[in-house]
Amino acid sequence: MSSILIKNGRVIDPSQGMDRVTNMLIEDGRITAYDVKVEEKPINGSMHLIDATGKIVAPGLIDMHVHLREPGREEDETIRSGTAAALAGGFTSIVCTPNTNPPMDSQGTVQFVQQQAAEADNCNVYPMACISKNRAGKELAEMGTLVEAGAVAFSDESSPVANSELMRRALEYLLMFDKPVLNHPQVAELTADGVMHEGLVSMVLALPGMPAEAEDVMTGRDLSLAESTGGKIHMMHISTAGSIDMIRRAKTRGVRVTAEVCPHHFSLTDEALRSFDSNFKMNPPLRDSNHLDACIAGLTDGTIDVIASDHAPHAVEKKMQELDQAPFGAISLETSLALVITNLIQPGHLDWMTALEKMTINPAQILGIAKGTLQIGSDADVTIIDPEDTWTVDPETFYSKSRNSPFVGKSLTGRADTVIVAGRVKFERGS
């Protein structure tokens, strides 16, 4: 296998606390050396030289919340198109949600997804599996078998685990496999028919609202159950000030909780819905500026461990419906990194080290996978980022099959330039 020398890039690796301009050598799919002198290594046919001057060299980014839709909804996205979109977004590893059809509650489906991913040969795909059989929220799925089959985490996403007893059992049962429960906290009866955040804007627009309490009530429940069982819980797509506050306090008590926030929740508020554009319809909904500020504060003080995309593709015609009929969700893989740079790093809320931490080593540790690091000897999953590249969001140019982005036409800064998976260049911007 050929080698790669990444020259003169600013290597930022939160797992090592490393931030310096240097040369990085990749050989046989692994990171083998730093500070390599370019002249020492013969540039022959088997050495690929990448000039990373002015670029940031980061561990391959990890997105632990992606809806790949296959099997069952290939009109929205396939594993092939979704993983291609992931690469374009700078991700070398993604975790896919189990709300496929059939759902990922059996070995067969989990293995199918892994096979499709291997065939697509884009980024790494780690499967979530269902907490409950058929994602029906009643009986525990065969979690041991699913762990054997390759599942890294368990969730009933996009459904919340409504039954508290089931949640408690899941937390206890997974203790022996040391895998996390990933929950989507939403009390369904408080959000019946809801289309957007419940607040001043929903009142003016006369759209049924989804109040913050619907998330907070279940977050509180999950924290309480995690505390009493000692289980590992990861709160998905947290969007409220109340939930962030509870998570912050639970952490001080030693509860094994981690949490993620999605880029749209630190970038947009419910004001966006005044356009009635269904690209702004998502779950959890875009909330008011108080909640947005709380999300940023949670990212800044470490309460929020992970930035995840919740990439939710929907075929164009599905979103072109009356607002109450249109499905929830936005594509996100190809805009996440730019939103982190534009809305968190540039305004000074996070520095590069802290931002990258939430997209590399933190998700890797939560999932128990040996990724998200550029330590010598680790897999050569590398994302080379152009931090200055200013571009306009045009979903027509995206690798995703779907077009439902809330950032259409927006000017963002920062993009992945080159993406390397297992020592092979899998994506190059402009090629």
Binding site: M203, L205, A206, L207, F276, Q321, E322, L323, Q325
Partner: protein
């Protein structure tokens, strides 16, 4: 050929709501409506201002009054009209509402008057068709022609809007009439009060400069106008108040309440009214009630809106 010159201030080919109209634009509609009312002898006669045009009613929600009013308004101006209702149409065969509208437009229809239960649907439609779009009610979001006819009636009876205290009474949460009235009245300088049960009247309205009241009796002496909204059973998900009887006790306009109101108070209602629920027969039929004037003015407003949007489209408005 009847002549009417459209005020330069009007450049919109669609009317989707009152929230984003300027005071000047609202005044243009009111003035035009008044002129058309005169030219038609009180909305009785015909003009040929829209002769040769076709106006389609695309109603996804049941309505007889509003649909009839729009049809009559269109015909009084000489336009042809067609009606599409959602039941029995291709919608029941799975056609999207945008495709339905585009099919109608392809038959060279000049304007679509649309009513739908989902807020924002007229807005989506306006982005996808070239012809004029007029909102006849989108869920509880807006009902601009209703707001306008209410305001026109107040202006007609009292001479102005500025400085008037207007109370909207009832199920504010689910009322498009309330919202359109709030935007229009505020733009023209009225003081607006929303009054109803605390389950149906949100305090958020105060942030927008609207007074919130739960007791009709407490605000009654200050009101120049009462607009009595109908209790909307079909739009509510869970009963936010225990019974019609209790509602009537707290909020119905009765002869007894009339005795405590201002001498020249105007009693309005968007209709259809539930005699005995939000209003008693003696009040509905009494000298302060302008309910039937509202209906006539509805025709005038709709004629004005259809003509103004058509004129703007002809001038090349998007």
């Amino acid at each position: 050929m009847d002549k009417l010159v459209a005020a330069e201030a009007w450049t919109r080919a669609d009317l989707l709501g009152l929230e984003h109209l300027s005071a000047e634009e609202i005044t243009v509609i009111l003035d035009t409506a008044e002129r058309l009312k005169t030219m038609t002898g009180g909305c009785a006669g015909k003009l040929d201002l829209l002769r040769g045009t076709t106006i389609a009613n695309l109603f996804f929600e049941n309505s007889t009054r509003t649909r009839t009013s729009f049809s009559l308004a269109a015909r009084r101006l000489g336009a042809d009209t067609i009606d599409f209702s959602s039941s029995g149409s291709s919608l029941s065969k799975g056609e999207t509402f945008i495709d339905t509208a585009k099919n109608i437009e392809a038959m060279n229809v000049d304007a679509i008057v649309v009513r739908h239960r989902t807020p924002g649907t007229p807005h989506l439609l306006a982005q996808n068709v070239e012809c004029c779009v007029v909102n006849a009610g989108d869920g509880a979001h807006e009902h601009p022609t209703q707001g306008l006819l209410d305001i026109m009636t107040i202006r007609e009876k009292r001479g102005q809007i500025e400085g008037m205290t207007v109370a909207l009474v009832g199920d504010i949460a689910h009322s498009r009439t309330a919202r359109s009235n709030i935007w229009g009245l505020q733009k023209l300088g009225a003081h607006v009060i929303v009054c109803g049960p605390s389950t149906l009247v949100s305090r958020h309205w105060e942030k927008l400069g609207v007074e919130v009241a739960y007791s009709l009796d407490a605000i009654l002496p200050r009101c120049d106008v009462l607009n009595l909204l109908r209790i909307q059973f079909e739009r509510q998900l869970m009963r936010p108040f225990p019974s019609v009887r209790e509602y009537a006790l707290l909020y119905a306009m009765t002869g007894e309440r009339m005795a405590r109101a201002k001498k020249n108070i105007l009693i309005m209602a968007p209709g259809p009214i539930n005699r005995g629920a939000e209003i008693t027969p003696e009040v509905a039929d009494g000298p302060h009630s302008v309910i039937l004037h509202q209906v006539t003015n509805g025709l005038a407003i709709r004629m004005a809106v259809l003509w103004l949007t058509h004129s703007a489209a002809n001038q090349g408005a998007p």
